[in-house]
Symmetry: C2
Subunit: 305 residues, 2 copies
């Protein structure tokens, strides 16, 4: 049961993978790019992949979204959401730091701190925060900007915590497998979908959202994606509250199937947000659906309503 | 009239900037990160910035979107859409290429070609495709994967054209300035907005899309963004067809202003897609609006309808 994740070792992605319940005790292998990881999962070379899907530290995750939207089918079996925090890691005290290295995006997100506390330090770009930390450990640079976990993995002391210019940011990672039955519903799940629509975009998107809204299904994320199939075909990546096994989700999915040019199911999985439970929508429980179906059946068979 | 753009020289961004009409004859200066460029525009150190906003080659543009959504106000004054193509650039014939360098995303998007044509070459990661090309020009590596423009800028011959694994991809760049009146309407314009809504996400988003749809305004892009303001507040980045000066856009904007927690106008600007004209929506021209307003005025003043 091997997990391939976006390497190198010591990055945010490895820190996140350690928090995924399904990865407990599993062997993990770093791989250099998102498409290679997803292809390895598709071929069955590894049992699962673990990649960022919303992330501002180490580069785009357009690759992840577009592989899930357009590549051979894969499904999401879990997610991990990590708060984004940066530290200044160095074996030297701040006053002796003359060079700082990091990934360009991590530098960009800590530039207020660097300008204020290390105005005279030369700033160097690295391929990843983990590579920067390794180069500090090797003595090439004095300090690096990285996650606390990355500093720990490289054996570097932390000279300053929480040096990001803005707080509250999160990075989201997904556990990806070949098409399979989803994990059991937990009552706080996400179902990810790609819906493709033709013609007028606003009108068709209104119809899609209506299918969700009338079943009490909320969106936690929506993003339009180019389809590469020419004019007039649009794809939307949707994260919806609820589970494939819920009656209301089943009815919404069949509604989307009827009105969309294409619907790709990308998995139902537990939400990694214990602080955001999904309110139970009134009249939309599985029991409500069963009652209503039984009532319709009685009507159709000529019985008493 | 200086344009700051995402450097270094020789990347896709510089190639795109050369196609922006407003930049003709302007001095251009490369800067190392998107936030630095946008801050330089805000301070007035440069007249304009030019940054990627949808891009899969050189890293995330979450930074651009989030700066426009949440930073001090800026507006978009123009866009450039470039098709994404990769070449193999080298002074050596393919048979003599033992090492290839590029940005990790460019490597990922040409891995089919590299596996097929250069199965024995060692692949090295670089900070950007332009840095890879420079290192090839310096003799450190044999070949690089980059855009045709980047090879030309580095003085490298192209050994193979169009080596990307998928075609049809585009990269989109925006011309950003301090808040100002938009360029004149061209009949094929985009208006970019950020709308913030509270409470139920699907229901509130349905209301937003309805305000657009009933005025014949289409969406060319929608993306939800975290607001960092805690639970229950959602922000959507919208690209809408039409111009601020259009009567129907004016009515839609006032409708959004009434129903949304916040609406941030991000500019109206000509669309860089000559092949996708916006159809004139029936009954929604400025003349139709003027006729209808005059009719209502007559009714209210007790005149003949």
């Amino acid at each position: 049961m091997e997990f391939a994740y976006l390497g190198p070792r010591g990055t945010f992605t490895e820190a996140a993978l350690r928090r995924l319940p399904a990865a407990k005790g599993a062997a993990t292998v770093p791989m250099p790019s998102i498409p290679e990881i997803l292809d390895a999962v598709r071929r069955g070379d590894v049992a699962a992949g673990f990649v960022p899907i919303e992330n501002s530290q180490e580069g785009t995750v357009t690759l992840t979204v577009d592989e899930l939207v357009g590549g051979d089918p894969l499904v999401i079996a879990g997610e991990v959401v990590l708060p984004v925090t940066f530290v200044l890691a160095s074996a030297k005290p701040l006053a002796e730091v003359a060079t700082v290295a990091s990934h360009p995006h991590a530098i960009a997100q800590t530039r207020g701190y660097l300008r204020r506390e290390l105005p005279n330090a030369a700033v160097h770009q690295a391929l990843s925060t983990a590579q920067a930390a390794q180069r500090v450990a090797d003595g090439e640079f004095d300090a690096c900007v990285c996650a606390p976990f990355t500093a720990e993995a490289a054996g570097l002391p932390v000279q300053a915590f929480d040096i990001g210019d803005s707080s509250g940011a999160e990075t989201r990672f997904v556990h990806v497998v070949r098409p399979a039955a989803p994990p059991e519903p937990t009552g706080n799940d996400i179902t990810s979908l790609v819906v493709s629509i033709d013609h007028d975009r606003v009108g068709a998107l209104l119809a899609v959202l209506t299918e969700l809204a009338i079943r009490g299904i909320n969106l936690t994320r929506i993003e339009s994606r180019p389809t590469g199939e020419g004019l007039g075909r649009y794809a939307f990546f949707l994260d919806c509250t609820g589970h494939l096994a819920d009656a209301r989700m089943g009815e919404a999915l069949t509604g989307l199937r009827r009105i969309c040019a294409d619907v790709r199911y990308l998995g139902s999985y537990p939400r990694d947000h214990s602080d955001r439970p999904v309110p139970h929508p009134e009249g939309l429980s599985d029991g409500d659906f069963a009652d209503a179906a039984a009532w319709l059946e009685r009507l159709r068979s000529g019985g008493a309503a």
